[in-house]
Amino acid sequence: MALDPLRLQDEKPPRAAAPGKKWVRVTKAVNGIDTEVWEEVADDAGGPQWAPRESMRLVSREVPRVDGPEKVTGRAVFTHDVRLPGMVYARVLRSRVPAAKVTLDLEPARKIQGVLAAVSLVDGDIDGEVRWLGRPIAAVAATTPELAEDGVRAIVAKYAELGFAVTEARAAADNAPKVNNRGNVIALSKNTDTKEVDEALAGSPVRVKGTWKIPVQHHASLESHGIVVDYRGGEEATVYASTQGTFTIPGDAAGRLGLKPNQVTAVVEHMGGGFGSKFGMGIEGEAACLLAKELQRPVHLLLDRASEFHAAGNRSGGEHELEAGVSPNGKIVAFKARVTRHGGVGRGSGHPLPYIYARDNAVFVEERCIHTNMDSSRAMRGPGHPQASFSMEGLMDECAYAVGMDLLEFRRINLPENKRELYMRQLEKCAELIGWRAHPHKNRPDLSDAEAKVGIGFAIARWGGGGNGQCKVEVRIAQDGSVEVLSGTQDLGTGTRTYCTTIVAEELGLELGQVRARIGRSSFGAANASGGSTTSPSLAPSVKHAAHNARLALFEKVAPLLGAKASELEVRPGEIRVSASPSRRIAWKDACASLGPNGLSAQGEWQAHLASSDIGGAQAAKVRVDTLTGEVKVLEMVAVQDCGLVLNLLAARSQLQGGMVQSLSYGLFEERVVDPDLGLFLNANFEDYKIAGAQDIPAMKAVFEDDPRGVIGMSEAAIIPGHSAIANAIHNACGVRLREMPLTADKILMGLAARKKG
């Protein structure tokens, strides 16, 4: 069965749009699971419009982030840095057994001087039954973090072991201990009829088959998960959280504290990375609330690094068994995949195969997941896509080599028609930037005796990146001319605070320093959680709308002063004037002075026409493989990306480069290591769980295409193709095809040795 031409989701809008309305595809992230749904919105083309790009002073320019100085000088207060009067510190005890019935004796902890409270985290629903390694089972609060740790270690935990499987191989084996009562291997697809694809494969002159293995990656956010619960009794609480969703906190926290959601304020002033792992407050958040409720004192609970690795989510791993049949002219006529997701006690993200290519002939995909007694995977930057990209782009290269075609030409033939122009334009640009034309061995590896071999590889990405209508933004203009933009949204480090400022300053003709963004507080206007690259396309149009409304409201006030109608006014840097008669003008300060002591306030909501969705990107990597040591040095990476209106060129480029770095690290280094017999996580630290450092980073070029559309979220697309391009480049360099990440020297050396043997 052929698939539809590529769409964000393979379904059409539910019905025709009502008059004055239109359907848009929006991305929603609920508890970190990104889903794309159709939403009917007002077809409001008459509202605010983005100005022509060349006319903008601040938006779409290179603007250093407004909170940069605070962050680099350490003045920025992250959740970890919050210190409150009477605050106590908490730590959690993790289950050291992957599956067990746990009984706890908390008394020894409580006896330690300085330990103020100890609570069980396995009462209630799970009734002492732990199903994954490292699950927090108790928490202790004390006057210092060290005493809390002592308390945790003093707890006597008795484990009645239930038998465990911490690796997929063990979990799928006959007589494996049951991870849960649903079964360890779960079929996720209904269609099991392979007749069509098998016939198409049988009729293909060239067939390529392989199994790709993808390890579990960790988010490795520099700020670990955690919250500070400021509850001192009474009917109000403030919860400081390192979260991607300010508004995911109050309800949960209120439940645990016995308060109403509107009695809890969440604060997310700055946060140190989430990448999809920080929605809701988690077990650690519940623990902090329990302790705060008991003690009626502020509780600080941030996970230590080992707990962060064990119990704060991960990117699901997997195994992809792929087979393709290729016609002599380079068309993939049959694609068959068996996808196994490794998501621990969770199901893992869907790995969308076939990824972009090979959709219009016989396609069969069977998906299943294998459960293990490990922490559930969570969403992670581009959930499922980097996994799918790795095997798909590898398969594409293998097919191209098998039929002796140029790697780009083979891709062109197998791209969906409606995306062919976009991706070929981007791939050709990547090729130009990385020196593909002059590359001496395009459709074969370097077979010379050279010790150091250079190779180039390509890969592409797609993402939705649309917005949705959850944001409420307020812009306030004070009598003294100062301006504030308020929204409850959180800045994950992507530059949200900065574009809130630039959009308003642009609209009102102000300099950056004249506008202050106040965000990260649930008492401000609602905002969506930051998942699925939905923040910018949801928030930026809402900010624009609020600024637009503030400008119109101000025009109404000053129009009489200029003897004109509000509709005849325009903003110029530092002033408001009558468009047709520029000498009739009023300076910003004077205009605001007319507002009176209450100033002015305007609201904004999402404007679908200011956002868009559906993006594509291509990346290429150039690597040098040392055939003596197996060392892979990535020399250069390039990325070409479309993303509608770029809000801040500096931040966007930084984000694209960050994606390249994170995917390089995924490709070359990152892998969770668990001992199947002992049931121990062996590398839950930053020594053995290796992440790329400065010396591992190549020269990078990040290029944005001119894209006339509105704002689109781009972050996820940036991380999808890099490692795939690197794997392809390694093969192009030395002829070793690595179908298993990370792409480390040991695998290359063993691959080279196997090639030598023939």
């Binding site: 050291r96 060290e146 740790e149 002592d150 270690r153 040392d626 003596l628 040591t629 197996g630 060392e631 280094f669 290591v673 001992d675 017999d677 002992l678 121990l680 062996l682 590398n683 020594e687 053995d688 290796k690 992440i691 790329a692 450092g693 400065a694 010396q695 591992d696 480390t744 020297a745 040991d746 695998k747 050396l749 063993m750 080279l752 040795a753």
Partner: protein, 331 residues
């Protein structure tokens, strides 16, 4: 963390007085010596040791002396890795030592880490480092790496423990023929550094060296190597900071274009710095060419017995031997 007494003695004698008796193996970890702390702090925080006393060596005068003498050096235990890395004189006379110091960890670690600490550091094996894996190194009955996940473990000299010695300096100093001085309750003793390290099959399996419970490593003496040239080549998975997957310390004395004398010591492949006697002998009298590199690599790795996940270390170490020889051929 168990509270401990932090003691800052003023003399070496008082350090030694505080240490347990020379045969007091069972309780030796009740007292730990603190130099740069780069290993000890990790061991404390990971609950691998819970001492009652921590003795700060930094208050003891004299241990940071770094003295050039007759072409050689006397290097105090507290000399930092940065000082070794940055010594132009050492780099000129014993390049492999300066290079190996510069290959340790990160800048921050090298600024803190010391010579003595680097030589006495405990293994990095992830089973050893996991509090809940009571392996043979920690008094248990089994080396979990042997039948487990042993990508980073030993291919030479293993059994019953299969750790690799983590020091970068050790192979270079052994290749330089360095000696080490230990001070104990009964006085000082000096021995070849090569004799300081012990295989798990020879010495106590829970230790990596002959340091007795009452002893402190006070200095390393490096003899002159006039007429020699040397290099240290380390392979790490992550360039930014990483322990060696394999490393080579190589020193050659050339006569014309032929090798007159050679020292070849491998790191990252065995529980001790692995001296390659056979390869050293075979190098003598040969020019550095492809055949010599190949032969030296083969002899150096002779007897290697890879485990399930570390067979790659054989070609890797052989490749590094070639790289080191070629580097010196061009030097």
């Amino acid at each position: 963390m168990k509270n401990f007494e932090f003691i800052a003695p003023r003399t070496l004698d008082s350090v030694v007085e505080l240490l347990p008796g020379p045969r007091d193996q069972k309780t030796r970890d009740r007292v730990k010596l603190l130099a740069g702390g780069q290993d000890l702090l990790g061991e404390l925080k990971e609950y691998l040791v819970s001492p009652e006393q921590v003795i700060n060596l930094k208050t003891v005068p004299g241990l940071e002396a770094f003295v050039a003498r007759d072409g050689g050096y006397s290097i105090g235990a507290l000399v930092t890795l940065s000082a070794l890395e940055e010594s132009a004189s050492l780099r000129a006379s014993h390049a492999m030592i300066a290079e190996s110091a510069g290959a340790v960890g990160s800048v921050q670690i090298r600024n803190q880490g010391t010579l003595g600490g680097n030589l006495c550091q405990r293994p990095r094996c992830w089973y050893y480092r996991h509090e809940h894996a009571v392996c043979i190194k920690k008094g248990g009955s089994e080396c979990y790496a042997y039948g487990g996940l042993n990508k980073y473990n030993a291919i030479l000299g293993g059994g019953p423990s299969y750790i690799v010695h983590p020091s970068d300096l050790a192979p270079a100093l052994v290749a330089a023929g360095a000696s080490v001085t230990l001070k104990g309750k009964k006085g000082e003793r000096t021995l070849e550094l090569e004799r300081f390290f012990t295989l798990p099959s020879e010495g106590a399996v829970t230790r990596e060296n002959v340091l007795a419970p009452d002893e402190v490593l006070t200095r390393v003496d490096v003899p002159a190597m006039a007429g020699w040239k040397s290099t240290y080549v380390k392979f790490r998975e992550r360039s930014s900071y990483d322990f060696a997957l394999a490393a080579v310390a190589l020193a050659l004395r050339m006569e014309g274009d032929k090798i007159a004398e050679a020292r070849l010591v491998l790191g990252g492949v065995a529980p001790i710095p692995w001296r390659c006697d056979k390869a050293e002998k075979a190098l003598v009298g040969r020019k550095i060419d492809a055949d010599t590199c190949k032969r030296a690599g083969e002899l150096a790795l002779e007897g290697a017995e890879p485990l399930a996940h570390n067979a790659y270390k054989v070609p890797l170490a052989q490749g590094l031997v070639t790289k080191a020889l070629r580097k010196l051929a061009g030097a």
